[in-house]
Symmetry: C2
Subunit: 239 residues, 2 copies
Amino acid sequence: MITEAEYLKNYDATRFPSPLVTVDSVLFTLHEGKLCVLMVERASQPQQGCWGLPGGFIDIARDQHTRDTALRKLTEKAGVSPSWLEQLDTFSGPDRDPRGWSLTIAWFALIAWVDCAPHIASVSDARWLPVDELDGYALAFDHQKIIETGLHRLRQKTMYSLLPVYCLPDTFTQAQLHEATEIILGQPIQRKSLIRRIEASGMLEETGESVATGARKARLWRRKPDVDIHLFSRNLLAD
Amino acid sequence: MITEAEYLKNYDATRFPSPLVTVDSVLFTLHEGKLCVLMVERASQPQQGCWGLPGGFIDIARDQHTRDTALRKLTEKAGVSPSWLEQLDTFSGPDRDPRGWSLTIAWFALIAWVDCAPHIASVSDARWLPVDELDGYALAFDHQKIIETGLHRLRQKTMYSLLPVYCLPDTFTQAQLHEATEIILGQPIQRKSLIRRIEASGMLEETGESVATGARKARLWRRKPDVDIHLFSRNLLAD
DNA sequence: GCAATAGTGTCTTTAAGACACTATCAT
DNA sequence: ATGATAGTGTCTTAAAGACACTATTGC
């Protein structure tokens, strides 16, 4: 019987073959009436030239969690950290990456288009692709499946929370939230239902300002500082 | 510019330091009116003698997914594969394991107590621990936190599905499902609500048999073969 | 004034909560 | 027959759906 200290002194982490571990993020935004996902053109092998999710290897010297890895890679590509970031799922297996048995920890993120538009416009390898046009692109590895999982999470959570506010700028109108919700869910939503939810959630507050949108001015709203997301006990579109 | 084939020929997966990757499972069951989690007494270092979740390293020669790793380890410890198995979350960081930067993929599982009682009784290192008595045990690594995350998942999902049926034997009465739901949620549930949900879910069917429970006989139910779980659009206990 | 968008009032619908009622079985 | 547990009927309640109504603004 040895002590833990003795055991650790002699421990060799490379004795057993271990999987290749990466972290990838599905970052959604809304732009011109479409739901888009941030994709990066792969500059190097493998799958060079394909479009892949922003991600990469964990830097065990710098990252305290895989969340840090996700944030680091997203900040590199989008120039800003997302408004929403949560773990999505992991994807693993011997065949998903030609380099061998691999595992990716996928994160799910949201951001307002305006918050990163300038940065993304300035780089040539990152681009917002509308999710309904992904068929036209060669996607790397199993990233198509990861995106679908992210889409499913986005739609589910939109049914029982105000998650779409994290796709909007700091201040926004009820109409913007309404449009965002309809784009994500792909069907019409009663305006009244959303307004009731804004009230009931306690997540949002009026800024006091209004903006002209062509007709009557609309009041501006923002998320209360440091407020947690509110989960409703019923879904929208319950049929 | 090199081709992918040339690149792969020269690829060395050990060039970059990579995290220690494990798979752990939170397997819950119900026994004697208590919610229990399967724990294993650690036979070797690190954290020898502590109680930990059943889990271990991925065997990249045998496991096609981390799900297979979870199943392999659970079958070793519980002697049977769980009725329910889904991915829970990942936990990572430089300090959670003394061997170095580590990552565990946590799975969430349910099984009926009777299905693995004989096997667990036959081994000395695995035991069902009631979740409300875990304070009395030295738990390994961050397994306390992983269990709490599993508990949260179990309680949330119980509010909008019939998930507790996966903690019950193949055939069961409405009263058993009712009791299971109340134990998991920790508060009384209207019998009528559950009966309505059984009907509406389309997941269950009567076996045609009845069992005596002391008074009037109760009808037996089972899950329809290969049926998917039904998600309700409202939660129980919505207040 | 009129068109257009913002915002409200209120009736209907759905599924849960509450709880009393009836049914069946062992004794 | 009685008591206990199984199972039903039905009223109330909470929140979404539907949709018509009023309010405000630019022209």
